[in-house]
């Protein structure tokens, strides 16, 4: 058994690694806090859209079952495309706005280890978050600006002065609290 004294000596000499440091692979440690690239962010967006799509399909299925209870002869119909898109856009906009304003991460960001911050590195305000969400949905191709941007920023990021950072250690404390 390691005594407390021995443990402290080993911790001070760096022989014992803090458990929190183990969660991030060594290859990625240098990247923490840097702006992420196109593929990572595209995958995060893809995960978000897939999540919203799944939620919408579940909601539509539940709605259909409810209608079936009211009228048993109700025939299943695919949703009207226009309304489906409008609802999807609305849901995605609300979801992105709330996620970025509240925690700085959506589900896709969380999966890909990303954190959205403003120009000072703080959490996005609700207005900025809503603006970024609508901007991202209206001009998704703006993400491609990442390829040529010297600072790894999309058009939305450049206009709104936001950044999307690598922050893989999602289990540590709220990154906005530490300052």
């Amino acid at each position: 058994m390691t005594s407390f004294q021995e443990f402290r000596k080993r911790l001070a000499s760096g022989e014992v690694v803090d458990p929190a440091a183990i969660t991030i692979p060594k290859k990625a440690q240098a990247m923490q806090g840097q702006r992420s690239g196109l593929v990572t962010r595209t995958m995060a967006v893809g995960i978000d859209i897939a999540a919203v799509l799944i939620v919408m399909l579940i909601c539509y299925g539940l709605l259909w079952l409810f209608l079936l209870l009211l009228a048993p002869i109700h025939i299943f119909q695919m949703p009207v495309t226009t309304w489906f898109f409008v609802a999807g856009f609305g849901l995605l906009w609300a979801y992105w706005t709330a996620s970025w304003a509240l925690s700085g991460r959506t589900l896709g960001n969380h999966m890909m280890g990303l954190l959205v911050v403003d120009y000072q590195g703080n959490r996005l305000s609700w207005v900025l978050s809503a603006a970024r969400a609508i901007f991202s949905m209206v001009l998704p191709i703006g993400l491609l600006w990442l390829i040529v941007s010297p600072t790894n920023r999309s058009i939305q990021d450049t206009v709104l002065r936001t950044s999307v950072l690598h922050d893989w250690a999602v289990t540590h404390n709220d990154p906005f609290v530490k300052e």
Binding site: T23, A28, M31, T151
Partner: protein, 180 residues
């Protein structure tokens, strides 16, 4: 016993019962002049002792009560007791002989355990360890995306003749060491 007609005898008809209680009184000593002298001397010594006890000894005690603390404090002020203990007392031997069980019984172990759990955030460690497999898969996907990002950036930079590379530092003072 008398019969009717007989002349009663005065002395015979009266019964007198005398109840005698023994009286306990000072024993009358036979008069002894030497004994009286010794008794007087003993009484005198007792009286003198009583006077001394009530006046002299009480006075001395009161004086000592006031003087001794001052004297002891004055002596202790001139001595480094900690150093004396360190020099002359084997503390390790003292601790080795101490009854640790009794000490531990007085230590709030559960409170300390709660404190340690809170400090190291044990629930978080448990969450991390239980999500280990999922974390590995997620990290693998992230690393793949990261390497493709680097490749794309390198190709784009070379096509744009950007020799210095990109400025991707965070606006946040993001120090990994700070977070751990």
């Amino acid at each position: 016993m008398t019969t009717p007609g007989d002349q009663p005898d005065e002395a015979a008809t009266q019964e007198v019962v005398l109840v005698v209680n023994p009286v306990i009184g000072p024993t009358v000593q036979p008069s002894n002049p030497l004994g009286g002298l010794v008794g007087a001397a003993t009484g005198l010594v007792g009286a003198v002792h009583s006077v001394i006890e009530q006046t002299v000894i009480a006075g001395v005690n009161a004086a000592l009560d006031r003087v001794v603390p001052i004297a002891v404090n004055a002596v202790l002020d001139r001595m480094d007791l900690t150093q004396i203990v360190l020099d002359h007392v084997d503390i390790d031997a003292l601790v080795a002989k101490a009854n640790m069980d009794a000490i531990i019984d007085k230590v709030p172990i559960v409170d300390i355990a709660d404190y340690v759990i809170a400090e190291i955030d044990l629930p978080k460690i448990i969450r991390e360890s239980t999500g280990g497999v999922a974390t590995d898969a997620v990290n693998a996907a992230r690393l793949q995306a990261l390497s493709v990002d680097k490749l794309i950036n390198r190709i784009a930079d070379s096509m744009l003749l950007r020799s210095k590379g990109r400025k991707v530092e965070s606006p946040l003072k993001f120090d990994l060491a700070d977070q751990q």
